[in-house]
């Protein structure tokens, strides 16, 4: 149990997707101007990652991993080079399903998400979650925790950046630094702060 909790903390804070691993930065920067939008994005990220990483784990272990077809008499078949296409397909499909479900049962939340939900298909952080799951060979329980933890870390980071940026809208910045420039500097400072979490889990 403590192992899974450690994994959650590591995924959320030490290996924070946008700030430490530079994943999902496009949406991280583009949608962090308003706190409400950032919060919606964070919740959507957590949901989608919590679903797609375990789903891709099952598909990888069941169909693509070396030796997965041994029961059918093809033990040397290695389809792992197809994982990229399979993962993207799963992510696109689950984003679509999630959108349909929300639209049917929770229309208010669906309206709040707006265009962010379909955009998540091409979010590098989500695909990276599945690729890391293969690279580090997580078990099914670990991949659930890892997916939720990474999504939660993303949500925390994007909400914090949005809060700082909405305050800075009043600030008198040099013209060239306005908008994107200051967002990078802020992300750098936050990343410096998150670097100190590295000791937190290691020290336990």
């Amino acid at each position: 149990m403590t192992g899974l909790w450690d994994l959650f903390l590591t995924a959320a804070f030490v290996d924070n997707m946008p700030l430490t691993l530079f994943l999902g930065l496009c949406t991280f920067l583009a949608l962090s101007k308003r706190p409400e939008a950032a919060f919606g994005l964070g919740v959507a990220m957590t949901g989608v990652m919590g679903v797609t990483v375990p789903l891709n784990h099952l598909i990888y272990q069941g169909l693509l991993a070396p030796g997965a077809w041994a029961w059918a008499g093809m033990p040397e078949l290695d389809l792992s080079y197809l994982s990229l296409i399979a993962f993207i397909g799963v992510i696109a499909a689950s984003v679509q399903v999630l959108e349909l479900l929300l639209d049917r049962f929770l229309p208010s939340i669906h309206a709040a998400f707006g265009v962010f939900l379909p955009l998540l298909t091409v979010q590098c952080a989500i695909l990276a979650g599945s690729l890391f799951m293969v690279e580090r060979s997580y078990s099914l329980a670990e991949s659930v925790v890892f997916g939720l933890g990474s999504g939660f870390g993303f949500a925390v980071a994007v909400a914090m950046l949005a809060a700082i940026r909405s305050r800075l809208a009043y600030a008198d910045l040099p013209a060239g630094l306005r908008g994107l420039g200051i967002a990078f500097v802020l992300a750098g400072l936050m990343s410096l702060g998150f670097a100190s979490f590295a000791q937190m889990v290691a020290a336990q």
């Binding site: 700030l19 496009c26 590098c124 060239g176 630094l177 306005r178 994107l180 500097v185 750098g188 990343s191």
Partner: protein, 221 residues
């Protein structure tokens, strides 16, 4: 499509004036992660430029046959297939760099630069201009990667391409490596400063000031 396309400006515009990374916020994810050394930055630049150019050519060639409703899926499958090819080539011939790049080569699939380019330009243009434009955008991306990669490797380790440029203090020289340069925050700072530099020379790129307070609520009567 009767107007003559100016190939030279299509090719050079994305370098500084329309740079995909610093102006359009596309493809940043991989741009920062792989720039700890110049060698990985260069490999990533070449891979991305190849994938981008070929994907733009392919999408543009079949642009009249793709139904509008499923075009995203078609484009992603084309890009993903090209990325798999590149990934296999890197693993076969440049195993060490491929390990250093980790999952980031695979992530070219979801690089917003590639999809944005095929979606916005290649879908409406003939193959040749689409490929020229994609190549130009690839060069603009490579420019940013190489600038940041060389700065980080030079000041983080005193090396370029793994060869010692600045003599290190511990081996009798004068240079003390700044280990912060190899960590994540410095990549953000460098890219922020690069954006600032480019926008100081090109003031028309600067973003407009936000006048309205974002969370301002009208006081009730």
């Amino acid at each position: 499509m009767a107007e003559r396309l100016n190939f030279w400006s299509t090719l050079t515009d994305p370098l500084i004036r329309q740079n995909p990374v610093t102006l359009q916020i596309l493809g940043i994810c991989s741009a920062l992660a792989v720039t700890t050394t110049l060698a990985t930055a260069l490999t990533m630049s070449v891979s991305l430029t190849v994938v981008l150019t070929m994907a733009a050519g392919l999408v543009s060639m079949i642009r009249r046959h793709i139904p509008d409703t499923i075009r995203l899926i078609v484009q992603i499958v084309i890009v993903a297939s090209l990325v798999i090819v590149i990934d296999q080539i890197l693993q076969a011939y440049f195993a060490e760099i491929s390990r250093a790049l980790s999952v980031y080569v695979g992530l070219i699939t979801t690089n917003c630069l590639v999809l944005g380019q095929t979606e916005a330009y290649a879908r409406h243009h003939a193959p040749l201009p689409a490929m020229v434009d994609a190549f130009g955008n690839g060069l603009g991306y490579s420019f940013v990667l190489i600038v940041i990669g060389s700065l980080r490797e030079l000041f983080g380790k005193g090396e370029l391409f793994g060869a010692q440029i600045l003599p290190l203090a511990e081996s009798g020289g004068w240079f003390t490596p700044l280990s912060l340069m190899l960590l994540a925050p410095s990549a953000f700072f460098l890219l922020g400063l690069l954006v600032w530099t480019i926008r100081s020379f090109k003031p028309e790129q600067a973003e407009a000031r936000e006048h309205t307070p974002p969370l301002y609520v009208e006081p009730a009567e």
